[in-house]
């Protein structure tokens, strides 16, 4: 995949945040949480041909903090951590199967949910949400990953 421009990514994250704000209230009734903005950013840095700068991840995290009304610094820290992990294991990922990649991303999303809930929902911290989100996200990513097998035109160039 070609590297996506900063402006395009800013707009994409803004739209993803709006979509998330509409979907999340419905899904949370079933104890499911999908951090779409975080996953979008993770996917972009995963698919990037170059290593992501720490400041780039940090500033995007701050941007998400502002638009999503999260405590300032929460997404900045998580985006920086994710960027570090993806950059560190970028070459190792090439040895992984798509199932392992899906597991990595669903694990990351659950880590994101758990970590953010430690700050914004500590009093009602729910392991049920984490577990169901893990299962749901894993299946969701597997379905998305398998789409390219059935619809090759969807494969990102």
């Amino acid at each position: 995949m070609r590297n996506i421009g900063v402006m395009k990514l800013l707009v994409a994250i803004f739209v993803a945040n709006i979509i998330e704000s509409y979907i999340a209230p419905i899904l949370i009734k079933a104890y499911i949480n999908i951090p779409i903005t975080f996953l979008l950013f993770s996917f972009v840095i995963y698919k990037s041909r170059f290593n992501t700068n720490a400041l780039y991840a940090f500033l995007f995290g701050l941007y998400v903090d502002f638009i999503s009304d999260s405590p300032i610094g929460l997404n900045a820290a998580l985006f920086s951590m994710m960027a570090y992990v993806v950059n560190s294991y970028a070459n190792t990922f090439k040895l992984f199967s798509f199932i392992q990649i899906c597991l990595f991303f669903s694990g990351s999303s659950v880590f994101y949910i758990g970590f953010s809930h430690l700050f914004i929902n500590l009093e009602n911290f729910s392991y049920l949400v984490l577990f169901i989100s893990l299962v749901f996200n894993t299946f969701l990513f597997l379905v998305i990953a398998m789409l390219r097998l059935y619809f090759p035109s969807l494969t990102l160039q």
Binding site: I28, A54, F58, D69, G73, A76, Y84, S88
Partner: protein, 277 residues
């Protein structure tokens, strides 16, 4: 092309960014240092969406209305609807004698305390993060108060047609309402002659209370009604807040119970703001 693993220099930069983020997080959570910036952003988005609507959707609607030659009727209809909402909020205070207030005396006291023609202002919910309301501990909403006078509404009680919803904590271009269920919110409540400071649980529609049996020997029951005590000076007294829904014994002396609130903030987009008591 392979990607190079982070060097020690870039690792240090990552560490620095994470440390800086943690510091910002600490400042925001403990000192609310970025609250003004967040509110500024919020008011900007609300204003811009309002302007955008006026520039794009409203003219189209207007043309549509003109084409049907019913614009006057529609305008009048809008006015009547607003008046209806206004009277609905006012009547609710007067008519809900059996559910809303503890007794008739408290209604009289409430009406005496507040000149009924003056203190209520109709408001409309402008922004309500339902995602945060359903998942997390922060329960806030942003409202637009229909008021031409320059009144400071900070600390004012916010009600809907079911009961008390919360209080205003920020009032500049838009007003920010802290809901009863927000984890940082506390409301003194009363049932018979027993007092308790009820704290927001962070769950929708539930507040919690903890009391000691040593100072409150009488048992509480499921379904028992609790009213605002008015001791904090923010909320009017003797307004029905909720019913006991769950009771948990913490230890031999301490009891913790949940109250299901009678007022659901999602019930209506129109709410009432009572001027500071």
């Amino acid at each position: 092309m392979s990607r190079v693993a982070p060097t020690s220099g870039s690792k240090a930069l990552y560490f620095l960014c994470i440390a800086l983020s943690s510091f910002l997080l600490y400042l925001d959570i403990n000192y609310k240092s970025f609250e003004r910036a967040k509110n500024l952003y919020k008011s900007f988005t609300i204003s811009s969406s309002y302007l955008l609507k006026r520039v794009t959707i409203d003219p189209v609607n207007y043309i549509f209305e003109i084409s049907k030659e019913k614009s006057k009727l529609i305008e009048e209809n809008k006015k009547l609807k607003q008046e209806l909402d206004n009277s609905f909020i006012t009547n609710f205070i007067i008519s809900r004698d059996s559910n809303f207030f503890a007794d008739d005396a408290s209604i009289k006291k409430f009406l005496d305390l507040n000149n009924i023609n003056k203190p209520f202002h109709l408001a409309k919910i402008n922004s309500f993060d339902i995602e945060k309301y359903l998942c997390c501990s922060q329960h806030k909403m942003f409202i637009e108060i229909f008021n031409n006078k320059d009144i400071d509404f900070i600390g004012s009680t916010v009600i809907n047609n079911q009961g008390i919803v919360g209080q205003i904590i920020y009032d500049k271009s838009i007003a920010e309402v802290l809901l009863l269920t927000d984890i940082s919110h506390v409301i003194p409540i009363i049932s018979d002659n027993h007092f308790c400071n009820a704290r927001g649980s962070g769950r929708p529609g539930v507040i919690t209370c903890t009391y000691s049996k040593l100072i409150w020997p009488d048992p509480i029951e499921i379904g028992q009604e609790f009213f605002s005590s008015g001791m904090g000076g923010i909320y009017p007294s003797n307004v029905l807040i909720g019913n006991v829904s769950a009771i948990n014994t913490i230890d031999d002396n301490n009891i913790h119970f949940d109250l299901d609130l009678v007022a659901d903030p999602l019930q209506s987009i129109y709410i009432g703001v009572v001027e500071g008591l």
